[in-house]
Amino acid sequence: MTTVDEREVSSAVAGKAGAPLIEVRGVRKRYGALDVLRGVDLNVRSGEVAVVIGPSGSGKSTLLRCINCLEEYHEGEIYYSGQLVGYLKDSRGRRKKASSASMCRLRATMGMVFQNFNLFPHKTVLENIVEGPIVVLKEQRASATKRALDLLGGVGLAAKANCYPEELSGGQQQRAAIARALAMRPRALLFDEPTSALDPEMVGEVLAVMKDLAKQGMTMVVVTHEIGFAREVADTVAMMDEGSVVESGSPESVLANPAERRTIDFLSKVL
């Protein structure tokens, strides 16, 4: 079931290995008086999978939304492919908000998968997937459709192309949402608790698709409570609490031998 077309991903991996594709430096964000992010650092190299864990309210989802400009951050810097996210710097180093057009271009190259799938309910699964390629990338409908069907085959949903999202199970909806993100040929995929809204028996099918993508070298940032997935797939695990990364490193170090009290406490609750 879960063989996402390797050609889809290989182009995304071709970027320079070594340099971080996503670089988060000292990012701070406030909602009114509340500090949601208090200086977050995170590096994700091309082809790497970074898993972000931590209790709810620790700022994980906000971090993802800042990375692809769905929300603005107030201090620090986020670089994607060497480009500053959300801001422009003038010659004196002062920054102003980037134009909305440039933010749209950036988002188009970065896929996002949501906890609640957020498929468009008034469109069929196929229409959901071709929407971005046709409207944003200005692809021809015929070629976009062909590719969408390939992608749907890759996530095991070829038979569901003409169904509406409400006719699909949660797991199927999330796999369709992954196909929708892939249709934009993203250089990186962000997953915001992709299995948290699923019935337990459907978690596996979604994780299988994600493992497949990881195997093919897709750069991914995954916010999840699935510690097993992190252990198996992650190159880096970052533990967040109260708006900052309290511990990060290889899964062996963070998950098997956590140094931080808060990581130990958190792992004891979710495992």
Partner: protein, 221 residues
């Protein structure tokens, strides 16, 4: 009730039909103005630019917080004093009810847009769509389906509101009735007759709204 004489009233049926036609024209005309204005107001209200949403909010609340009858007489009697331009009764009512509808339709639009889950906007933006594309292709088509029943209901209310035009002598149905009464001295029969005519005009619209509401409840598509 001993001498309920409908025949006498019905002999003036051409006046009543003329009145009903004016009622229809006023309804459709002001619905058209409101139908153009309302979506713009609704979009401004839902926008993240605070001052746009604020200014449009003042307009909406002004029309929601004052009696429609007061709006009608104000535009007819007070506005000319300020502007020096006397509008005809018909145009005054058309303008007033059009602006009134703009406010109410605007609220329906705003509520419709707000009722769509925030994740839909996130998902649209996440695939690189602009705000405008996201609105046009993702948010509004979903919101519009939810707006149709309240919009149809609003149209029915509007038709009843046109009766206010009689106070400034616009010859719509209620004013036509007053004329008929002045000839026949039959208020009971005449008012009964126009009540029935109003009901005949409005009931199908209410029935349509109910049908659309039940239909949209069955599916989210």
């Amino acid at each position: 009730m001993s001498n309920f004489n409908l025949g006498m009233v019905l002999s003036y049926h051409s006046l009543l039909i003329q009145g009903a036609l004016t009622t229809l024209v006023l309804t459709i005309g002001s619905a058209a103005i409101g139908g153009v204005l309302g979506p713009c107001i609704g979009m401004l209200r839902a926008s993240s630019y605070r001052w746009l949403s604020w200014v449009s909010g003042i307009y909406v609340e002004l029309f929601r917080a004052t009696p429609t009858l007061v709006q009608v007489v104000w535009v007819y009697f007070a506005l000319p004093v300020i502007t020096g331009v006397q509008l005809s009764g018909f145009v005054s009512v058309l303008l007033t009810l059009g602006l009134h509808e703009g406010a109410y339709v605007g609220e329906i639009f705003r509520a419709g847009i707000k009722s769509i889950d925030k994740g839909q906007m996130y998902a649209a933006r996440a695939i690189g769509m602009s705000y405008r594309q996201s609105m046009q292709r993702i948010i509004l088509p979903q919101a519009f389906k939810r707006m149709v029943p309240p919009l149809v209901n609003e149209f029915a209310s509007l038709m009843k509101l046109t009766s206010l035009a009689s106070v400034i002598a616009v010859p719509e149905l209620l004013h036509a009735a007053d004329n008929v009464i002045s000839f026949t001295f039959r208020p009971m029969e005449t008012y009964t007759a126009i009540a029935v005519i109003y009901a005949i005009l409005v009931l199908p619209i209410i029935a349509l709204a109910g049908y659309l509401d039940r239909k949209s409840g069955r599916t989210s598509r």
